[in-house]
């Protein structure tokens, strides 16, 4: 029992090391050009050990994306709680997500034009896990909006989530490519994104 727990945590440390090494590699080269060997060399771990933790590069990327989404989602859930007004809460949460994602080196390399196609391909084929993690962040607000009947007609939560996830990545790219400042970003969200989801407060 004790020993199995030890292996478990050993594996987690290994996975951690590999993830850190992979992020370094992906920052330096594109995802496509980085090999499992590169990652092992960076982490000072042998290839067989790598394959004990992850089936392949794809699975490793998914683990990285999943971790980052989870981290952001938990933080998101906290941010909106400060605001009573639902419209405001949605705006703040989306704004926060975009700002945090911009700061995240993981998101940066995942959304880099060189990597984007690869990322989208990986994420698309495993949407459900990442989606549900993303949901954690906004779920309380969706529930409240449904209860108060403030969601616009014909919308369902799954589709909103999918749409917002896409928009958030778009906004990260857009902020990085243009000179958009924080105030302008906030206004875009407030004016053009949230009103498409929520009805006017009576």
């Amino acid at each position: 029992m004790a020993s199995s727990r030890k292996t478990q945590s050993d594996n987690e440390t290994l996975a951690d090391d590999l993830i850190k090494a992979a992020i370094k590699c992906f920052d330096r080269f594109s995802i496509r050009k980085t090999t499992v060997e590169d990652i092992c060399r960076e982490a000072k771990i042998s290839r067989p050990t790598f394959y004990k933790c992850f089936k392949n590069k794809r699975e490793l990327i998914l683990a990285i994306a999943g971790r980052e989404t989870r981290r952001l989602s938990l933080a998101m859930a906290k941010v909106g709680r400060r605001h009573k007004d639902l419209r405001r809460a949605f705006t703040e949460v989306i704004y926060f997500t975009v700002c945090e994602s911009r700061k995240s080196s993981v998101v940066r390399f995942l959304l880099n034009p060189e990597n984007l196609e690869f990322t989208l391909d990986v994420v698309r084929n495993t949407e459900d896990t990442l989606m549900s993690q993303h949901d954690i962040g906004l779920m309380p607000y969706y529930e409240k909006a449904e209860r108060l009947q403030l969601l616009r007609e014909g919308l369902d939560v799954v589709e909103i989530t999918r749409w917002l996830q896409m928009l958030e990545s778009l906004l990260v790219i857009y902020c990085n490519a243009s000179n958009l400042n924080d105030d302008e970003l906030y206004r875009i969200i407030e004016k053009f994104i949230v009103p498409a989801i929520l009805k006017d407060n009576p």
Partner: protein
């Protein structure tokens, strides 16, 4: 008239840039390539078009204006603003997939820099010319009056361009099909253009 001669030359250079992008890729294409392809001397090219960045902006404007001119008829014949916007976005996606030079700009996210950062972009102007009157007309029919300020108008046009790039990107990079794009448009994008700006958001902080 020097004017037409100049226009011919612009066309000649723009077509050369487009061919070069298709041949070498947007990152690798150089001013020399464009000079060779267009038959102009390097000196003339630099003198009249500045640098690669300006040439690429030029291509985006050039293609954009061609596209807007072509699509104007379709938009004027649409039943209402909803239908016109849907036609516009869908047609843009199709064009972006087919046109290698636009595709390259969407893929490298170049399109954001070019159109949204420059206030003088002719492409943006041609988008304004088509859509601001259409939005005004629709609001007046719907609400009996029009409350958008100049600032609101510019912001909504920027949003339209961002969305246009967004759907092109979704089509090219994520292979999202047209039906799904229509659903997103109807649910999350078009309604915004039919709403009057909210008084409590309109003012700049």
């Amino acid at each position: 008239m020097p004017e037409t001669k100049n226009n011919d030359r612009v066309t000649q250079v723009m077509e050369a840039v487009i061919t070069c992008i298709q041949k070498y890729g947007i990152q690798k294409v150089t001013m020399d390539d464009v000079a060779d392809m267009s038959g102009l001397s390097r000196i003339t090219l630099y003198r009249e078009f500045g640098n690669k960045q300006r040439l690429l902006n030029g291509v985006l404007d050039y293609r954009g204006q061609q596209f807007n001119a072509k699509i104007k008829e379709l938009i004027l014949n649409a039943k209402n603003l909803e239908e016109a916007l849907e036609i516009y976005f869908i047609t843009t996606c199709r064009a972006a997939v087919k046109d290698e030079s636009i595709k390259a700009m969407v893929e490298t996210h170049y399109v954001f820099q070019a159109v949204l950062d420059s206030k003088e972009s002719p492409l943006k102007k041609s988008v304004c010319d088509v859509w601001i009157p259409a939005i005004r007309k629709s609001h007046i029919e719907r609400y009996g009056h029009y409350t958008m300020t100049r600032e609101d108008e510019i912001e909504i046009i920027d949003w339209l361009i961002i969305m246009q790039a967004n759907f092109s990107r979704m089509t090219i990079e994520a292979n999202i099909d047209e039906d799904q794009i229509r659903r997103y448009l109807r649910r999350f994008v078009i309604p915004i253009f039919l709403q009057q700006p909210r008084a409590d958001i309109g003012s700049t902080a």
